[in-house]
């Protein structure tokens, strides 16, 4: 049974013509149990693809095509949570190297130490193997694949084969098969999907024109030779690779190896540096009670009950660090006479009121805490702070950078 492991969504800006939901729906329509979306230099489409695929019981594999310093792209599939973390780090490094939007390049050294949990494919016409074959024939192609094996490990490299009824591609496939035999690597059939259905190739052609600043009449060979980059059904792919059944079989095997989904994200909020011997929860409770005394006085039983209830839920969801960081930012602003005010659903929280983050008494006004934080809803809390524009706002941002690290904070 074939599984498509190299698809591109519209989040590969102007290089993909279908949104993740369309890809997931087409995958389900073809009876495929799983599919991987590898967008260009990002995992932007992954959450939508995961949500859409989850609804129709399709396993959503995550990956990305990461642009190298030489222009070609590493197609990387995420095998585990560590792999996802490494992929995100690689993309961050790549983007930071140029500092310009939409650009980036990954040096080979970047991959050292960040390859764990990742599977590397040799790619299609934009992959490393095609570039090596074009510049130095089979010898250089073999060397290229050998280097990929050294980087990712022999078990984590698959020699990719694509068939779009194109002469040049078939010549590349023959060379790829020869290299795979020489290095004893598994073959993997993919279709390098750029759109869900054949009729969407027209949209991709228009996108190609926009990307290259052409009109359809002058785009010439920038456009695809034929509309074969749609999601093909397993029988169609099996017929296409009838001479290489192992390439089809390996898609199932590789899909089974890819354990990671966005459900296993394992995200943790950053930790607040508490004084020695004091846990984050304990520190938060102390700050909340201190604030409660200031706001409500010591004998407001209703407020105390509400705060205790909220603190219990915060502890259960392991969120004390988040509240402490927001409290820290507010405290910093107050010390420097920077006007700061929490707003939105956070005003429903008595803890936020007690910590001085918001200015509205949710107990007195009988506001509903669950609008802000609910165990059933399974969403992250979101506290918005209003700051004055200009230097004071910048001062607050710089404080967050300095205290929590440049890569751990974002305005």
């Amino acid at each position: 049974m074939y599984t498509e492991l190299h698809a591109r969504s519209a989040f590969s800006f102007l290089e993909g013509a279908s949104v993740p939901e369309e890809l997931a729906a087409a995958c389900s329509a073809h009876g495929m149990s799983a599919m991987a979306v590898l967008d260009r230099d990002g995992v932007y489409g992954a959450p939508r693809f995961y949500l859409a695929a989850n609804k129709i019981h399709v396993k959503a594999h995550i990956g990305a095509e990461v642009t190298s310093a030489f222009g070609w792209r590493y197609p990387l599939l995420v095998k585990s949570r560590e792999g996802y973390q490494n992929l995100c780090r690689l993309i961050t490094r790549m983007k930071l190297r140029t500092g310009r939007k939409g650009e980036g390049r990954l040096e080979r050294d970047d991959l050292a130490g960040l390859h764990a949990g990742l599977i590397c494919l040799t790619g299609g016409e934009e992959g490393p193997l095609a570039a090596a074959l074009a510049s130095g024939g089979i010898a250089q192609g073999t060397e290229c694949v050998r280097q990929l094996c050294d980087l990712f490990g022999r078990k984590n490299v698959y020699v990719e084969l694509q068939r779009h009824y194109c002469r040049e591609e078939e010549a590349r496939n023959q060379a790829s098969v020869e290299i795979a035999c020489k290095l004893s690597l598994p073959l993997l059939a993919t279709n390098a999907v750029c759109y869900a259905t054949p009729d969407q190739h027209e949209l991709l052609d228009v996108f190609t024109c926009i990307r290259n600043h052409h009109v359809l009449a002058t785009a010439g060979r920038l456009l695809c030779l034929n509309p074969e980059r749609h999601l093909k059904s397993p029988p169609e792919m099996e017929r296409l690779f009838a001479d290489m059944p192992e390439a089809i079989a390996n898609t199932q095997e590789l899909s089974a190896r890819l354990d990671f989904t966005l459900k296993d994200l394992g995200y943790e909020f950053p930790k607040y540096p508490t004084p020695q011997g004091c846990s984050q929860m304990q520190f938060l409770r102390e700050r909340a009670y201190d604030g409660m005394r200031d706001r409500y006085g010591s004998e407001n039983e209703k407020a105390r009950k509400q705060i205790d209830r909220e603190l219990a839920l915060i502890e259960k969801l392991d969120l004390p660090g988040y509240f402490l960081i927001v409290w820290d930012i507010v405290r910093f602003c107050r010390e420097r006479n920077i006007l700061v005010q929490g707003r939105g659903s956070a005003a429903n929280s008595a803890v936020c009121f007690a910590l001085g983050i918001t200015a509205v008494d949710p107990v007195g006004m009988e506001l509903l805490f669950e609008r802000f934080l609910s165990e059933e809803r399974g969403e992250w809390p979101d506290i918005d702070l209003d700051l004055p524009s200009g230097d004071q706002r910048e001062g607050a941002i710089q404080y967050v950078y300095e205290r929590y690290g440049k890569l751990g904070a974002r305005p």
């Binding site: 779009h164 009824y165 194109c166 052609d205 010439g220 030779l225 074969e228």
Partner: protein
């Protein structure tokens, strides 16, 4: 050192402009009339016409008593004075030609009036010598464009202008003698209003000397600032700076015809005259022609007039336009060659109605400079080559001649015809030989050539397990020994002529079938041809091969065939060499 200025003045400019367009008129007395019909009156005449009794302001009817209107059919009635309509287009062209003649001598030229221009002679002594020589050169250049000029050289612009207007031929006025030389001229040479001249006449002031002797203060009291200006002009002391004209690289000549021209012969005569004038102007500026654009205003068709409503008939009928562009591969200045090329173009695609007016514009470029190498074979003369190409284009059609240029498209066999260019061909050959030497020196890759069949030949294909199993080509059967494909291509989906093809590379073994065998496909048969003549030649060739191969054994070859999804048919694209 005094500055020197030369003024070129064209006397009877209106007459000369007309004669420049129609030189045959210059031999007889000529009166130029203008005005709104039927109130035509004489606005200019040549000395012969004045001698015959013509006066300015005479009506056309009065002049007609002296002669006949140009273009009249009855030549027996023609007498000494001819009447011609004033032509603003010819005046414009004559003025432009005059400026070009001036620029051929000096780069600093003032466009003073339609009949007057002034040149700065600073620095020209090293080129032409004395002021007399410069004046002679100017006379020659102006004569070359078909005009007769009066030329005056002086240290003062206004003095030069008045001397040119007042004295015939060439006048050189040394510095310091301006007042003395101008003194004899009548006050009529001054460019001022008629009322002022009338006042001077009433005062008894007839010459510039008399005007110069009048005290400036009193003249100013009576004639104001204009009086002071005229006084300074008469003394030759009026100073001003030269207002430089901007040179243009586009040259235009126009000709309005009294009788519409329908046939190519008389049209060629007129085009030749315009080309002569253009080339003379270009030569004066050391330019050559890069492209010639000819625009004809055509007579409105009779049918259109017939259908037009009465109200519309009162309006001026709208002229139809016809335009031809002659682009040259190299800049040329030979009027005869240009005329031949234009004639060939017009023969291939003549205008649909008689021609009423001709506009001819030349885009100028620097003349061609050729440096032939000692060991480089001389190529064909570009002018002759262009004429040959134009003749061929007339035979085979404009779009069917030139060099084939591949288009940036996935569509197989997509190309367009571009202009044949010797230089480009030479470069291409050089590049090809360089590539060949590279291939020799480096690793030699296997090159597969495809002998393309144009137009593609229809074949019949029997499929076997989703791939071609048997092919019938030109009546003979071929068994597919090996197949590779399909190689799918499609495109141009946004156009009407979209395409979608599945190509196959096939190794086919053709087996002759006794008497049914006519012609096995062969290299000689698959030719790079697309014209009907050559196709028939190929067909003959096919018959000859038939006789030769009739008794031969089976023939195996590697072919490229394709299935056209839109036409739903199989075709042979070519044979691998």
């Amino acid at each position: 050192m005094f500055m020197s200025f030369a003024c070129v003045y064209i006397p009877d400019f209106l007459v000369q402009a007309v004669v420049r367009g129609q030189p045959s008129l210059g031999k007889s007395a000529l009166a130029v009339i203008s005005g709104t019909p039927p109130l035509w009156s004489v606005v200019a005449a040549n000395p012969a016409a004045f001698a015959a009794g013509i006066q300015l302001g005479m009506t056309k009817a009065q002049v007609a008593q002296f002669g006949d209107v140009v273009g009249a059919r009855d030549t027996r009635a023609r007498s000494t004075v001819q009447i011609c309509m004033r032509s603003e287009s010819q005046e414009k062209a004559a003025h432009a030609a005059l400026l070009d003649a001036a620029w051929s001598v000096s780069p600093r030229v003032e466009d003073t009036a339609p009949d007057t221009i002034v040149l700065d002679l600073e620095g020209l002594a090293s080129l032409f010598g004395s002021n007399e020589n410069i004046a002679r050169e100017l006379t020659r250049c102006v004569a070359a464009i078909g005009l007769a000029a009066r030329i005056a050289v002086a240290a003062n612009i206004e003095v030069a202008i008045h001397a040119a207007r007042g004295f015939p031929g060439v006048t050189i006025i040394p510095a310091g003698q301006e007042r003395q030389r101008l003194s004899v001229l009548p006050v009529g040479v001054l460019a001022t209003e008629t009322e002022t001249l009338d006042i001077l006449e009433r005062w008894g002031i007839a010459t510039l000397q008399a005007l110069a002797l009048l005290p400036t203060l009193q003249v100013s009291e009576r004639l104001g600032q204009e009086g002071v200006r005229l006084s300074e002009l008469a003394r030759g002391t009026k100073q001003r700076a030269l207002v430089l004209a901007q040179a243009s690289s586009t040259f235009t000549e126009e000709m309005e015809l009294d009788d519409a021209v329908e046939e190519l012969e008389p049209l060629s005569f007129l085009l030749g005259r315009l080309l002569d004038q253009l080339c003379a102007r270009l030569e004066a500026r050391a330019f050559a022609v890069r492209a010639v654009r000819v625009r004809f205003e055509l007579q409105p068709s009779f049918e259109k007039d017939f259908q037009t409503l009465q109200e519309d008939l009162r309006k001026k009928p709208e002229m139809k336009q016809y335009e031809k562009l002659l682009t040259l591969p190299v800049p040329m200045r030979n009027a005869k060659t240009l005329l031949k090329l234009l004639r060939l173009q017009l023969q291939g695609d003549p205008p649909s109605a008689p021609i009423q007016k001709i506009y001819m514009t030349a885009d100028a470029a620097g003349p061609r400079v050729t440096q032939n190498g000692l060991f480089v074979p001389i190529g064909p003369d570009p002018e002759k080559l262009e004429i040959t190409i134009a003749r061929l284009a007339k035979l085979v059609g404009e779009g069917n001649l030139g060099c084939a240029e591949l288009l940036d498209s996935h569509r197989p066999e997509s190309f367009r015809m571009v202009r044949f260019n010797v230089a480009k061909e030479k470069n291409k050959r050089r590049a090809k030989s360089a590539m060949k030497s590279n291939n020799n020196s480096e690793t030699r890759a296997t090159v597969t050539a495809l002998r393309v069949t144009r137009p593609p030949q229809a074949v019949r294909v029997e499929m076997n397990s989703e791939q071609p199993g048997r092919v019938y080509l030109q009546g003979i059967r071929g068994e597919v020994v090996a197949a590779s494909g399909p190689w799918r291509g499609s495109g141009d989906w946004w156009q009407e002529d979209s395409w979608h093809q599945d190509e196959w590379d096939l190794e086919i073994e053709f087996v002759p079938v006794g008497a049914q065998h006519r012609c096995a496909p062969s290299r000689q048969n698959a030719a790079l041809i697309d014209s009907p003549q050559l196709q028939s030649a190929s067909g003959n060739n096919c018959e000859r091969i038939d006789k030769k191969t009739e008794h031969s054994s089976s023939q195996r070859g590697l072919y490229r065939i394709y299935y056209d999804v839109l036409q739903q048919g199989w075709f042979l694209r070519g044979e691998y060499d």
